[in-house]
């Protein structure tokens, strides 16, 4: 289909972008790779009055070391992120989840920040960001905000990003030594969205799990931390049994949707199986 008409602005700096969004008002949208927004425009499911294109702003694409964390620029492409040596070393869970996003063509255009801002519960990166306690940095004419991932996703396709805010970067605390990670994605075809996904990072010490971060994709309107799993597994010895018992707690407190790709009941079941697998894989890396 064909999008409805919209104004188009292509600022050269973050300052210009922030100003453009402030001027355009409530019905403006920032666009970067366009891999999520363009289909919505074409299907006329979204009708923004104006698009502010962030593609020309070089500083938004940078990935850099920030001491105890990484700063991933909002418009760094998936392709860039998954191959970046810093990301692979300090945030391997992000690299692993990113490698499962759609297909190479999408990964060359789609952006890290864009997929967080889109806040699709079936997206792979929100759960990974949540598991790692990422912090979103956003700027507007009113100043800069730091939004923890746990507060960023508020509802189906809705984040706390204000209409006049530009996401500039995402701060990912580094994982230290001893961590293993895994992103377990369950989908029917290579390019399809996750029916359920599990983002998992665990720290092993002396044959036991000392620390665990587990977040779930598509088990509700927003990505969710599997807190019951984390609580259960922390301090337990690494064994098939403990991972299985931990997995059984995966769906606690979730409200998975029913759609064409799976019922709520099936997703609940999948979460338990996939969480067990993700823990096992992360702990044996």
């Amino acid at each position: 289909m064909i999008p409805a008409a919209f104004e188009y602005v292509r600022p050269a700096s973050v300052e210009e972008a922030v100003a453009a969004l402030a001027e355009a008002g409530e019905d403006a949208k920032a666009i970067a790779g366009g891999q999520s927004l363009m289909p919505l425009l074409r299907l006329r499911l979204a009708y923004p009055d104006a698009l502010v294109d962030l593609e020309r702003i070089g500083e938004l694409r940078e990935i850099r070391d920030d001491g105890d964390a990484l700063l991933i620029g909002a418009t760094a492409t998936h392709h860039q992120v998954m191959r970046d040596p810093l990301v692979r070393e300090h945030a391997p869970l992000i690299a692993a989840a990113t490698a499962t996003v759609a297909d190479p063509a999408v990964r060359h255009r789609g952006t890290f920040g864009g997929s967080l801002a889109h806040a699709d519960p079936a997206g792979d990166l929100p759960a990974a960001a949540l598991a790692l306690d990422a912090v979103v940095l956003a700027r507007s004419v009113r100043g800069e905000r730091r939004i923890p991932a746990a507060e960023f996703f508020v509802d189906w396709m809705t984040s706390t990003l204000e209409p006049d805010e530009v996401m500039t970067a995402v701060r990912i605390p580094k994982l230290g030594a001893g961590w293993g990670v895994h992103y377990e994605k369950f989908h029917r075809t290579a390019q399809a969205w996750a029916i359920v996904g599990v983002a998992c990072a665990v720290r092993r010490e002396r044959g036991a799990i000392e620390d665990a971060r587990v977040a779930l994709t598509n088990m509700g309107p927003v990505p969710v931390r599997a807190s019951a799993v984390e609580r259960f597994i922390e301090g337990r010895t690494v064994s098939e049994n403990s991972f299985r018992s931990a997995g059984e707690r995966a769906a606690e407190g979730t409200e998975p949707p029913t759609d064409l790709h799976g019922s709520s009941e099936y997703r609940t079941h999948l979460a338990t199986v996939l969480t067990t697998r993700a823990l096992t894989a992360a702990a044996t890396v």
Partner: protein
């Protein structure tokens, strides 16, 4: 890799790379949507958001006032000139055949049916203006379930018909009651062939250019010749004032074997406005409005003896027509009537098919068209029979199939299979597959209670193609014949133009036809140009579908080449001052038997014919020849396909581990093209087994309008295919060819589902409805039946792009 054959070696049989691919793959070619004559106007269609409703009021006035808009019409505005879309296959005398206006006038009967259109200076303006068209609908009851639709008291799709049954078609042979009576084994099964959306890579597109009272219509169609005749019939524009061009066309799979309302409307708009008009569909529009495929409920009864020999088969079908009968809608399930018996011998057979109207997109031909549905049924039943009798599925087939020495064989369905060798194909497939080794692994996994089980699926299929003998089509009430035409023109320089009535849309005719002509005429491959797909250039043809191009059109070319050689022989004899019977034609040159050095090449003869200075009295100064071939019989490709599937019993996920396809498509002109057809066919058949399904909700809305919800596999989702061939020539044509366009699709679906069920039999599972989604497999393992995972699903609710817009 592969290249041209050595000089002097035969072209036929050489794995030549396709000469058309460079332009097709890069897109540097004439797709219909690439063409933009000066002044072209763009059309957009407003489509019904409701499955079934009365149109109370439709008003396009405000749309006409929008900037850039040239005209806007509702169905009522064009009611007097738009006519009714044709159905050319009225399978019974008393078939119910409702009118089908290209744009709905009084009532809409499926979501996505066109109700109005806008013509504007660009696509954007046309699309924007659609939102200004007011249509008031009075909802009527949707009819979405075939079983319910045929019950008394069901809401009706067409009130005036008094029933939702379009027709009932029956074929019977042998005494089925006797076969069933006291049969030691009687299997009763109900299988559902889900509705599929054809999804060609190139969406539909049509451009109509008026010149005075003549029109050139470019369309992404498989059938320029049939379309021309039908457009003339529907609109009253004389056939000789219409030229239809199918430029390069990016796939069809049957979906472009159609006369679409959008094509008729484009022609009418070009006539009204006197300017070129173009319409190209979007993917989501196409999912709703391209005709769909399959959609049958099959009730099957198989009677067999204790040793596994089949006594008889009863087939009772409900076939979903959708809301209207389109070009060959009613005939599609009837093509399957002759295939439910597969490669097996039996005494009695009964086939009954009822065509049912529903408030859904009309169905029609989709790759295989009737034969995949039939093959699925019989091949699933053979596995069920093997399980019932605790026989190996290969063995139960062996006990029933037609032995190689029994050909030609008249089947219980009344066809004569001319040739085949099921033993050879099966032996080869078993060896390539390492059947015994995989069976051992399967037993081991079962023994260990491995959470991932292995299943082996068998499909020993045949199909009827090379459509078709005109007399047979006539006896089935089809509205046309099944011949094909070819012309060969020898240019003065000796170069060759081949004109074929078979219109390629991705099959590689330009390469294969040149290979045939090069061999028959003894000219280099590069000297042959193949022309097709334009009624002004290739005026006569029956087009491309039903795996007919080579087995009918290729044979016409073969015959036309022979006529050229015959004509050339007379001239050569005159030039060489020899008797015709003393000439021999080899390697493109006439030589005189016993006289070394004497001879004339075809090029020399062609030049002599062109100059015409010195020709025998009474001889036409031309070598050009035409031939029209009408086969005496169908052709019957067959093969043995074996699939190994790993089923994760914890999640229900199916992973295909290996797939062996040994096909017998007769003689092969280009093995590389055959290989490509088999690969693509397998992907499409596997997709029915695992991925694809057009889903309608209870209100009749199509919920799979985007490719996020209508899943298609890519190479990443498919196993490496092991393909091989046995070669049993067809006896029905001089090339010995059978056709390969649909074989892979027909064979693979049951092979995959048989493999899944085989993996799950230790859990008491005997069926998984298609597509075998992980959730359905999981539910089958939990002992649940049912045809749909995610009942009451809200599209898009789970995230992903989804079809969040429904039938927008």
């Amino acid at each position: 890799m592969t290249a041209a054959p050595e000089a002097g070696a035969p072209e036929v049989g050489a794995p030549r790379r396709r000469s058309e691919d460079a332009r097709l793959v890069t897109g540097r070619t004439r797709w219909t949507d690439n063409m933009q004559p000066a002044g072209t106007l763009h059309v957009a269609f407003l489509r019904s958001p409701q499955a079934h409703a009365r149109i109370v009021r439709a008003d396009a006035e405000r749309a006409r006032e929008r900037p850039g808009v040239v005209a806007a019409f509702t169905g009522a505005d064009l009611a007097d000139e738009q006519g009714s879309l044709p159905c050319a296959w009225l399978v019974t005398d008393d078939i119910k055949h409702p009118d089908h206006p290209p744009m709905a006038v009084d009532e809409v009967r499926y979501a996505g049916e066109p109700v109005a259109c806008v013509v504007a200076r660009d696509r954007y303006a046309a699309f924007d203006a659609l939102e200004e068209i007011d249509v008031d609908y009075e909802p009527l009851a949707p009819v979405v379930d075939m079983d319910a639709a045929v019950e008394d008291g069901s809401p009706l799709v067409h009130e005036g018909l008094g029933t939702n049954k379009s027709y009932t078609w029956v074929f019977e042979n042998g005494d089925l009651d006797a076969a069933l009576r006291d049969a030691p084994v009687v299997l009763e099964r109900r299988y559902v062939q889900q509705r599929l959306i054809p999804t060609a890579m190139e969406p539909r597109s049509v451009l109509c250019v008026p010149e005075g009272d003549e029109f050139t219509l470019y369309s992404a169609t498989q059938i320029p010749h049939i379309l021309r005749l039908m457009l003339a019939t529907v609109t009253g524009i004389p056939e000789h004032r219409l030229r239809v061009v199918a430029p390069d066309v990016g796939g069809g799979f049957g979906s472009k074997l159609q006369v679409y309302g959008e094509e008729v409307i484009a022609l009418l708009l070009a006539r009204r406005l006197g300017r070129p008009v173009k319409w190209t569909e979007s993917r989501s529009e196409g999912n709703m409005a391209v005709h769909h495929g399959r959609d049958q409920i099959q009730r099957l009864t198989l009677a067999a003896d204790e040793d596994g020999r089949i006594r008889g088969l009863k087939v009772d079908l409900l076939a979903d027509m959708g809301a209207y009968l389109m070009l060959v809608t009613p005939g599609i399930p009837i093509l399957g009537a002759f295939m439910f018996n597969g490669i097996y011998k039996m005494d009695a057979y009964s086939f009954t098919c009822t065509g049912v109207f529903t408030t859904k997109t009309p169905t029609d031909a989709y790759r295989g068209a009737g034969r995949p549905e039939a093959t699925y049924a019989i091949e699933r039943l053979m596995d069920e029979l093997a399980a019932e009798l605790d026989l190996d599925p290969i063995e139960v087939r062996r006990r029933n199939w037609i032995a190689k020495e029994e050909f030609p064989y008249e089947t219980v369905a009344g066809l004569t299979y001319d040739s085949g060798n099921y033993e050879a194909a099966t032996e080869r497939a078993l060896a390539l597959f390492e059947y015994d080794k995989l069976r051992a692994e399967q037993a081991d996994r079962n023994e260990r209670r491995d959470p991932v089980r292995l299943g082996i699926g068998v499909s020993t299929f045949t199909e009827m193609c090379g459509i078709a003998p005109s007399r047979v089509l006539g006896s089935l009430s089809y509205g046309a014949g099944g011949w094909e035409h070819a012309s060969v023109r020898i240019l003065p320089s000796g170069k060759v133009e081949v004109v074929t009535g078979s219109s390629a849309h991705g099959q590689g005719h330009e390469t294969a036809w040149a290979q045939i002509a090069a061999d028959r005429l003894g000219v280099p491959f590069e000297d042959v140009r193949v022309l097709h797909g334009d009624t002004a250039i290739a005026p006569k043809g029956m087009d491309t579908y039903g795996s007919r191009s080579l087995a009918v059109g290729g044979v016409a070319l073969y015959a036309a080449c022979d006529k050229v050689v015959d004509k050339a022989r007379s001239i050569a004899a005159h030039l060489l001052e020899a008797a015709e019977q003393d000439l021999e034609f080899t390697g493109g040159r006439f030589g005189v038997r016993g006289v070394a050095g004497e001879g004339a090449t075809l090029q020399e003869v062609a030049l002599a014919a062109f100059a015409a200075h010195d020709l025998p009295d009474g001889l036409e100064p031309s070598l050009d020849s035409d031939a029209t071939f009408d086969p005496d019989n169908f052709s019957f490709p067959h093969g043995t396909h074996l699939c190994a599937a790993e089923v994760d019993t914890e999640t229900g996920m199916v992973r295909l581990r290996s797939y062996v396809a040994v096909d017998d498509v007769g003689k092969v002109v280009n093995p590389l093209i055959v290989e490509g057809q088999v690969h693509g066919g397998l992907a499409q058949g596997i997709a029915q087994a695992l991925y694809e399904e057009a889903v309608y909700d209870a209100e009749g809305n199509l919920t799979t309008t985007t490719m996020a919800d209508y899943l298609l596999p890519s190479a990443a989702d498919l196993p490496e295919f092991t393909t091989d061939r046995t070669e049993t020539p067809a006896t029905s044509n001089p090339l010995g060819v059978k056709g390969v366009g649909e074989a892979g699709t027909i064979a693979s679906t049951p092979a995959v589902v048989n493999a899944i069920v085989d993996a799950l039999r230790p859990f008491g599972v005997s069926d998984v409805p298609m597509p075998c989604t992980p959730e359905r497999v999981w539910r089958a393992l939990r002992g649940e039946r049912g045809e749909r995972g995610g009942e009451g699903a809200e599209p898009g609710a789970g995230g992903g792009l989804g079809s969040a817009g429904g039938a927008r």
